[in-house]
Structure formats: C-alpha cells, structure tokens
C-alpha cells in the first residue's frame, strides 16, 4: 500500500517550549489514524504541520511526496489547496457565506468553482436542502458537515480533522463519525485528533502523544513503526 504521510524526526519549538520532539511516523493510503493524548502533547501542532499551516523547526514531514518543511509561503498555500482538507473543532465556516458558498470558497482557492459539484458535495453529507443557509442558521452538527463537504470538495489526499466532534452533542457526533467512517470506507486517508477513546477506537490506529513524543501506537492491525 502506498505511503501518504512519512514523518522523520519531526521537531517543533515555540521559543523554549518543545511542542514536538523527534516524532517519526508513516501513514498509508486509506488509513484512518486517531491522534490522542493530553492537552499540550503536540496533537494540533502535528496536524498543523502536516496540513501546511505551520512549519517544523527540524525534521521531515512528507505528504503525498511533498516535504512540507521545504515549502515556502507560496508552496504551502498551493499545498493546502491541493493536498489536504481540514475539519476543525470550531467548524471555521465563513459566517457571511452560505453553506454552498463556503464549499465553493475552497474550490475558488483551488482552481475554478463548480456550483453543481459543490451542491453534490453538500448532498453527500445530507445537506442538499440547506445549501443556501448561513452558518448561523445551521446546527453545530450541520456546520461540521458543511466543513466536511468543504474538506472533500477538492479531492485531497489527506483529511485532517482536529477534534471534529469536540463541539457536538451525541446525536451530531454520531452523524459526523458515520460520515468519517463512510469516507474511510471509500478509501480516504484520515488523520483525526481526538480526546475520546471511544472515537479513537474507530480508527485503524491510535497514536498517543505525550510531551511531544510518540508514547504508544495501538491498532487493530498493528504495523511496525520506528518509535
């Protein structure tokens, strides 16, 4: 199976604080990975680096053949538009754009917009009838589904979800998790940060971080990793 993500001795320092301390990891195409660990363990920092939102202090982070650490600002921008799709805990939809426009915004920054495809993407997450609604007119779960539709619209190689159910009630949490499960079954590679062990167990592998280091990897089908 092809490797989508390859991390080698990744370090990230914020001043004197070491957020990531020599992490090495490999993620294969179509894997669903749960990154777990206490607050401040470096989960979000790792996902930000893999998503091209942040740069490592040292080490390599190769996503779909591109070393994120070597990209300049323009390269990171293209990388974010083409290689990854984000789903954030706070949804982060543009409040004055409709659900449809929020999805089309990602298309716009990627290349050209296709309203029909954007509508299909919303239908895919069960929001075909809410396309013209503003985020404020949607429930938290619906907003997160819009964010999933936005993350998928440009067919990224890697979906990065930072606590995607962290702000949702139980019902909406299940809807979003079912959606992620479907995406996984369709062959998408998903890297998900979560605190909840029950959610982490849905993934192929669970990676525990502590103080910026890999503490444990557990999986239904464990693959050998250089820890």
């Amino acid at each position: 199976m092809a490797t989508v993500v390859e991390i080698e001795n990744l370090r990230k320092e914020f001043g004197s604080v070491r957020a990531l301390d020599g992490i090495s990891l490999r993620i294969d195409d179509g894997e669903w990975i749960a990154i777990m660990g206490p607050s401040g363990s470096g989960k979000t920092t790792l996902i930000n680096i893999l998503g091209g939102l942040d740069s490592p202090t040292s080490g390599r982070a190769i996503v779909d053949g591109t070393d994120v650490a070597r990209l300049d600002e323009a390269g990171l921008t293209r990388f974010r538009a083409e290689k990854v799709g984000f789903v954030f805990q706070q949804f982060h939809l543009v409040p004055y754009l409709t659900a449809l426009e929020n999805v089309m915004l990602a298309q716009y920054f990627h290349s050209t917009t296709d309203e029909k495809e954007a509508r299909q993407s919303l239908e895919r997450v069960g929001l075909g009838d809410r396309a013209e609604h503003l985020p404020l007119q949607l429930s938290g779960g619906e907003q997160q589904r819009v964010a999933v539709a936005r993350a998928l619209i440009n067919h990224p190689r890697l979906i990065l979800a930072d606590e995607p159910t962290g702000n949702l009630d139980e019902v909406n949490e299940q809807i979003v998790l079912n959606l992620l499960r479907e995406l996984h079954q369709e062959g998408h590679t998903i890297l998900m940060v979560t605190h909840a062990p029950s959610i982490g167990r849905l993934a192929d592998r669970r990676i525990e971080l502590a103080h910026g280091r890999l503490a444990q990897i557990s999986a239904t089908s464990l693959k050998p990793e250089p820890v």
């Binding site: 984000f86 706070q90 543009v94 004055y96 298309q107 716009y108 920054f109």
Partner: protein, 381 residues
C-alpha cells in the same frame, strides 16, 4: 463569478463599517466634482464677468490714439475701412464693437468734450454706467444725447433738457435723454450721435477710436485680436487693454491654483477617513483571512477580493458624489455668477477614478492581513 459573489458578500457583511468610509468618499467626491466642475465652468463665467468691465481691445490710428487735448488736429481712421475689417471677422465672441470720435465743442461758452458714438451700443460697451433718464435705442437717433454727471451739474441740465453745441462755425442741438454716472472721465463728456459729431466737426466718415468687448478665455481673445490686427487697414492699430486681460489671466490662475489645492487636500482627508475605517476592518478580518489561507487562499487572491471591495466602494461613492457635486456646482453657479454652471460629463470618470485611487490608498491597513498566520488565528489567538 465567484469572485464578485464573494466581493458582494464582503460588502454586505461589513456594510455597517463601510457606511462610514462610503460617507467620506461621497462627501469627498461631491466637493471635488463640484470644484472641478466649477474650475472648468468658471473660466467662461469669469470671462463673462470681466466683460462687464467693458472693452478689452481698442483700435486706434497707427500714429497713436487721439488725445482730448489734441482733438483739434486728431489722428483719425476711416470709419468704413475699420468697420469693414470688423465685419469680415464677425465672431460670436464679440459682445460689442463701437466707434468713437472725440472733439472739444463749446456749450454756454464752456468747452466740453463731445464724444460721437453709436449710442444704442453704450449700455453694452459700458455696462457699469448708471443712468438717470433713458438709454438711446436707435443708432440713427440724432436728436438725443447723453451727458456726464459733471456736465449736467455744471450746465444745470437734466433729462429732457436742451443742449446746444458749437464747434467753429457749426452748431447742433440735442435733447438730453439721460445723465451718465460713470465714476470716471465719462462724467465730463457729452455723448452724441456719431454722424452728428462728424458733421459738427466736418470730419465725415472719420473716427478716432474703436472699443471692442470680446468674450472667451484669454487665449481665445488673444487669437481673435491677432486675426483682427492682421485684417486692419494700414492706418489702424490694435491694442489690448492690458489691465483687463492681465487681471483676468491672473485671477483665473489664482482660482485654478486654489481649486487644485483644495482638491488635493480633500483627497488626502478622504483617504485618511477611509484609512481609519479600513484599519478597524483589517482587525475584524484577521480570522477570515486566517481561514481563507488555511483553505489554500493565496494572499494575492485574498487581497484581490478586499481591493475589489474598496474599488467598488470608491466607484459607487465616486458616482454618487459626482452627481451631488455637479448639482452643487450648478447651484453655486447660480448663487455666485447668477447663471448655472452646466455639468461637464468628463467630471464623472475623473471623480470616480480619483475616488477609486483614494479608496485603494485608504485600504493600506489591509496589507497587514498578509502577515496573518493561519495556525495562530485558528488557535483563536
């Protein structure tokens, strides 16, 4: 399409804040377009105002103008030759062209300067005169004359009084139609029919001076004067009245400098107003920009949206302001010059363009959004 859809949503979302910038742009555009319209229109209006000062060109005999003292042996020109030249160069610019013949006659044993002229043109060529009595409407009216205020006082004459004029061994008589208050040398003169004075002095067909009032911009007047000078007979020469033309040019120059200075000042002030609004807007938009960057938005594409937004703001504000400004200048023309200044259509694109530039300049604080780090913004810092 998506670009303008986003620009429209940005405008709609920030309309509360943008109203302040829009008001500044509309106000600035209104004053600027009013001033520019005035600047373009004021030249014509001022030229018309200057024409109320009277003639700005004179034609005199080539060997110098006649003096009152030398009136007994004046230098003269052929009336038909000079008028023929004027007729050949007929122009709508010419407000009035009036011939004069000066002699010193006697009345009640008192010497008095008698000016033979076209009395029907007196009001046009000397618009500042005040008159007690009636103007003379017919050029052929040889029975009436006008007298200066000082002459009337000295000779105890009033309108409808009879005036007898003696010159060598000839005599003529006229009825005083009106008394002129000119506040100058005309107060000491008698104005009679040109033909009457030519007959009295036995100088048929002779004139000593032609005064011409020409309207138009200084360069147009100079152009007309040059063409007329070339067309005049050899015994006549043309002279511009420098006090009038120079004052006109100087005043126009000063007014234009004043207007341009005010336009620049208002542009700067408008840019500062927009700048204040945009600085606040830049703070508000940090999260939007962070999110857009995380979705792969390059700073050039994101800034393109914001610049289009301020461009639309400048264009719409400029258009509304230009309409208000041109209306304002129309009203100012009525108030200041007593005649409306017609709208100049070139004002609209110029004002709109200026306002777009000002809005863009005022949008400088948005440049700080280029430094936004998406990871920092999405963390909520």
């Amino acid at each position: 399409m998506m670009f303008w859809r986003l620009v429209f949503q940005l405008l709609r979302r920030s309309r509360g804040r943008l109203v302040v910038a829009m008001l500044a742009i509309v106000s600035g555009a209104a004053v600027i377009s009013a001033l520019l319209n005035l600047d373009l229109g004021v030249q014509n209006k001022l030229t018309q105002e200057f024409r109320s000062l009277g003639a700005n060109i004179v034609i005199s005999p080539a060997n110098g103008p006649p003096t009152m003292e030398g009136a007994a042996t004046p230098s003269l020109m052929r009336e038909d030759e000079v008028l023929h030249s004027l007729q050949r160069l007929q122009s709508p610019q010419v407000v009035a062209a009036v011939p004069y013949l000066y002699i010193v006659a006697r009345t009640q044993d008192t010497p008095v300067v008698v000016t033979g002229t076209w009395l029907d043109q007196a009001q046009k060529i000397e618009p500042t005169w005040k008159l007690e009595g009636n103007w003379i409407s017919s050029r052929d009216d040889e029975s009436h004359c006008l007298i200066g205020r000082a002459v009337a006082r000295q000779l105890h004459l009033a309108p409808d009084g009879q005036l007898k004029l003696d010159y060598v061994n000839r005599t003529t008589q006229c009825t005083v139609a009106g008394v002129v208050d000119a506040g100058g040398t005309a107060d000491n003169q008698v104005f009679a029919n040109l033909h009457t004075v030519q007959s009295l002095a036995n100088l048929p067909g002779q004139i000593g001076l032609v005064q011409i009032s020409v309207s138009g911009a200084p360069e147009n007047v100079a152009d007309y004067a040059a063409r007329l000078a070339a067309a005049l007979p050899s015994g006549a020469q043309l002279r511009p009245i420098r006090q009038v033309t120079e004052a006109e040019g100087s005043l126009l120059g000063r007014i234009q400098f004043l207007i341009i200075s005010m336009v620049v000042l208002i542009l700067i002030l408008t840019a500062f107003c927009v700048l204040g609004t945009m600085a606040a807007l830049a703070m508000e938009r940090r999260k939007d920009v962070g999110l857009m960057k995380s979705l792969g938005g390059s700073i050039s594409r994101i800034m393109g949206l914001f610049l289009a937004e301020v461009g639309v703001l400048g264009a719409v504000g400029g258009l509304i302001g230009a309409i208000l400004g041109v209306t304002l200048s129309y009203w100012m023309g009525l108030r200041v010059f007593g005649a409306a200044i017609s709208p100049r259509w070139e004002i609209f694109p110029v004002t709109i363009l200026l306002m777009i530039v000002v809005a863009m300049a005022g949008a400088l604080p948005l440049r700080t959004l280029g430094d936004v780090k998406p990871a920092v913004i999405l963390r909520g810092e």
